[in-house]
Symmetry: C2
Subunit: 630 residues, 2 copies
């Protein structure tokens, strides 16, 4: 059966190849990989007033702050639902259009919880104190946007507050600036960016070289290449020095003196196929900054999604080594972009390049240059990545991708291949996910929707608890098979590398509880079915990576598939249709009986016997009656 199928597929591919001449069709698989499991986890939710565009989530030890409209909720992290405090921050000054104070910034700044909001199109910032008190601390223009649909970004690093937000009501003068803190305020030269949308920023710590620490800003902007072939949008990384104090009085005063930018590329260069529209970024920081990884989520002009992974060292290397775009003369010393103790003393030639040619010639390519780590025909909104110590002794990275339909994809970074462990529904609706906050310590992901926050439990091993095979096939680094079932602990049977279940049978002696063969008794169902009527058998589709079939009298039948069930439809019961049916699933090296039915005919024979007996009785009675009466 399988051989015939693969011959068919091969023939098809040969046709394709022959037909197309060039291998156009090979770039994207027509059927992208499915999530292995579709799960539901709708138990932990916290509802709040509908928020127009973003729900800000901020975590400080065991408190989670949620920024809504006119208030900030302080929630207990462990429960994910218990509201500890509710700070009411109504807008004090009202613009004509809107009186709402949409909270857009929550940071830990100057030993306080620091909050900014749109405040009726007059952005303001407050400090929150114990006892639901707060004080107005500063004007918020340039930190919070004026309305919630405007783009903004904030970052607190080494005692300074950095932010990107438009200065004007109409959304113009949107820039990345140092706004408050220990160091002086700095902003950007107007010509450096064109219609930017800021996505993320972070500080890369260098424990032994703090002077050289850089802040990276990731954004998309209008492409300066206006040729008809070029995508109108392009993604970028910009870099500034943490210790930057701007240029001297006569040149670039209060302007970043170390600003550089480069193109962030994600795509299939051989096909000139690029995902140019950065959507979200997650940085997996390492002890040594050169080992850090930047995970970036992109969409393309034709609405596909890709994830590319970048080495922070290689990313930084482009700024250190590339030539400057459109600048052909000798590069002055110090090289533009070098961090110095006193940037005000930088020589003018160095600053002149920063001002006029801040773009790198080289592009920033992902670790694997040829192709993205993950591509999908669906749309995604957010990304987070967790490092997991698995029972196989290795550390595995698990990507958490938020879809625009409100579900979370859990993806194993398996070498350079993506294995989609599951897709989980956290709410009943299909609102897109607006924000995510990963608590790697508690193994929880806080997921912000327009009107509610849900907690995604990263180690829900009970989802694969049916047998050792189920637990191992899941390839979920958070879980392993133990004598108590599939558990979130580091010792047990697991095979993240390839999901092979052979260890399950070898370890039967060692591990007491053996659920390898599923408890058939509870799955075996008996039905008495009359002939001629339609009848159906159903079997839940647990794994989308498994193949399902029905076994009946040594014949195999394929499923009639609905969204979550494998059906066997019998239009009218005949004699041959009675007997035992087994719904078998097969995945990798593991075959199991998912459900078993026994269909038996109505006891037709016995009623016939009864009737015959009745007839005999009535004949007997009649005979007796005649004998007696005559």
């Amino acid at each position: 059966m399988k051989t015939r199928f693969s011959v068919h597929i091969k023939r098809y591919l040969v046709y394709r190849w022959l037909f197309c001449g060039v291998c156009f069709q090979c770039v994207f698989p027509k059927d992208p990989p499915n999530p292995r499991l579709t799960l539901d986890q709708g138990d932990k939710r916290l509802s709040y007033d509908r928020n127009c565009s973003h729900t800000v989530l901020f975590q400080e030890s065991n408190h989670l702050f949620i920024g809504g409209i006119n208030h900030v909720l302080q929630v207990d992290v462990d429960s994910g639902q218990k509201i500890l405090k509710n700070f009411t921050l109504s807008s004090e000054i009202c613009a004509e259009k809107s009186c709402e104070n949409v909270v857009t910034v929550i940071e830990q700044f100057q030993n306080c919880t620091f909050v900014c909001g749109t405040n009726g199109e007059n952005p303001r910032c407050w400090k929150l104190y114990p006892g639901e008190n707060y004080t107005l601390t500063m004007e918020g223009t340039g930190i919070s946007p004026h309305t919630c649909t405007q783009n903004s970004l904030s970052l607190v690093a080494d005692g300074d507050l950095y932010a990107a937000a438009p200065l004007y009501n109409d959304g113009t003068l949107l820039q990345f600036r140092r706004k408050a803190g220990n160091r002086i305020s700095l902003w950007m030269h107007d010509q450096w960016l064109s219609e930017p949308t800021f996505i993320s920023s972070f500080l890369a710590k260098r424990n032994d070289d703090t002077m050289n620490e850089k802040i990276y800003v990731l954004f998309r902007e209008k492409n300066s290449d206006t040729s008809p072939e070029a995508d109108p949008w392009i993604s970028r990384v910009a870099r500034v020095c943490k210790v930057d104090e701007g240029g001297p009085k006569q040149f670039l005063q209060n302007i970043w003196s170390s600003f550089l930018k480069a193109r962030l590329v994600c795509g299939i260069p051989n096909e000139s196929l690029y995902f140019n529209r950065l959507q979200d970024v997650f940085v997996l920081h390492a002890e040594n900054w050169t080992d850090s990884r930047v995970y970036a989520l992109f969409s393309s002009s034709w609405n596909f999604t890709a994830v590319c992974i970048y080495s922070l060292e290689a990313l930084d290397g482009v700024f250190e080594r590339s030539s400057f775009k459109d600048y052909n003369k000798e590069i002055p010393t110090p090289r533009p972009g070098t961090c110095v103790q006193n940037s005000k003393s930088l020589p003018i030639p160095t600053l002149q390049i920063i001002k006029d040619y801040p773009e790198m010639n080289d592009w920033i390519h992902p670790i694997h240059k040829d192709t993205p780590f993950f591509t999908s025909t669906d749309s995604y909104t957010k990304i987070a990545v967790d490092r997991v110590n698995a029972s196989d002794g290795h550390v595995h990275n698990v990507l958490l991708l938020a879809t625009d339909k409100g579900t979370i994809l859990k993806v194993l970074e398996d070498d350079y291949k993506a294995f989609i462990i599951s897709e989980t529904h956290l709410t009943s609706g299909s609102a897109p996910i607006q924000s995510m906050k990963l608590d790697s310590e508690r193994k929880k992901l806080f997921v912000g929707y327009p009107d509610q926050m849900a907690v995604f439990d990263l180690q829900r091993c009970q989802d694969y608890n049916a047998s050792c095979g189920d637990c191992v096939l899941a390839r979920d680094p958070y879980c392993a098979w133990t004598e108590h079932g599939c558990m979130s602990q580091t010792k047990g049977i697991q095979n993240i590398a390839n999901g092979s279940t052979s260890e399950c049978s070898r370890s039967l002696g060692r591990i007491k509880r053996d659920l390898r063969s599923p408890p058939l008794v509870s799955l075996r169902i008996q039905h008495t079915v009359p002939t001629d009527v339609p009848f159906y058998l159903s079997c839940p589709v647990e794994s989308h990576h498994a193949t399902y079939r029905w076994e009946h009298k040594e014949k195999n039948s394929t499923c009639q598939k609905t969204q979550s069930e494998c059906l066997f439809l019998i239009p009218a019961m005949t004699k041959d249709d009675y007997g035992t049916y087994k719904c078998m699933s097969h995945e990798r090296d593991y075959t199991k009986v998912v459900k078993e039915y026994k269909l038996i005919p109505e006891p037709v024979l016995s009623t016939a016997v009864q009737r015959r007996a009745q007839e005999w009785i009535s004949i007997f009675v009649t005979v007796v009656f005649y004998i007696c009466c005559l």
Copy 2:
């Protein structure tokens, strides 16, 4: 119900818009339009030896010639299956690799059926005569490719044979040439094209100005723009004069002296989203050449498909009016590309531009510049377009698109919107369609697969014969509702413009046979079902544009959908589940009962009555017995 749904959709779109900031997601619908009907028409097929890459189809009045391996079949057009003659053309000279003679060219040339083939990598051409005779007529290099996987093209126009095929075994020196006929042989300058794949060529007749008639060649080639953003492939139209005789002895002798080329664009320019890879072309010739339309099928680097429609007049206008790429000086007289009686007397400055700057600066845009006529996430291989005189008095264009899965899509060109009437399976397999030949007079489409030819009947009105509503909803210009049912004739009820079925009820008096209300009796099925057992009802999904629901005791339920059925699953029959079920379909202004079931319980009550009666009888008998006997 509907309102709630649309509110939900609206909310979702608002989320999307808010979330994305820029309207990235609006370019491609996530759910592209479905074909309304999925049909099967596997009756008329003719099998032959498997052919490696293309099956050449050629029609001459009521004979269809099919080029295979080592033979040409002459088939009766009306039956589509009856082989009239079989010309055996085995290869005479054998190369080391292959002895096959794959027929690649069939044309009507010099009053004969003219055939060329690979002939064991030594291309040859033959003339076919009555009685299955043939003679070798010429060497075929440059007319037929050496192997069937190589690209080639042929055209007979005004007594001349034009062809594109590589001159060498390895596929190099692939050009478009005039090879034989009344006029002298001509070829191209080596520098004009780069790695071309020729797709189609045609002559545009000008009845009142034959001197100015042009031959157009459509192909894709390597993009000369090698910037990383540019697609490596690009589509083009080239144009030469029919009367071209090449340049004078000293310059461009035997080379096209009127060759020009321009980029053929299909895409969404605002998003810099182009379908650059031409796959097939169909020209809908009109009486006046300026009214002719060129239908072109493209694929994109990410494997989507698009159809763009071009006005031949506008296409030609680019060659007449555009400046020449990279040429900035004054354009000499006559303008390069002008057709003249004696091209050998053309001035050198004009010929110099033809040689060095044959590319137009302007691009050829489709009639609707903003967006393709049709886009799809599937892959298509061939296109044909038929003009249909419909019962509404208008002429409608119907596109026939061949998919790489072997099905045919029938698409109505509804103003500038595509309405997909149906997708038809012609074979049981999924081999891609390699060639199509439209017989517009007989309303048949001959469809060539690797190992068989199928005939697609364009006017299968019996597919919509159930009722006037079904016939009109189909929006098939070949069909109309008459007193004899849905028929392929021009008088009857039809509404191609919008598919509204209101005319059906208004015309009840005029049209005798009324099938508007489906014959319910034959659709009503009664089942006696015991309690507690699983039970299902099924209803065929006829139209993918309709919504289906189950009506039971004034409650509506949605379907459990499989590929072609709408199911209603009852896990275990209860008292409430008995009664009448109606499967209702709703589309546009038309609602109908597709199927009706009546579920009745087993006659439990009557057996109780019987038993009671039997008890009474036995008591009665016993009493009689006692009375009599005692």
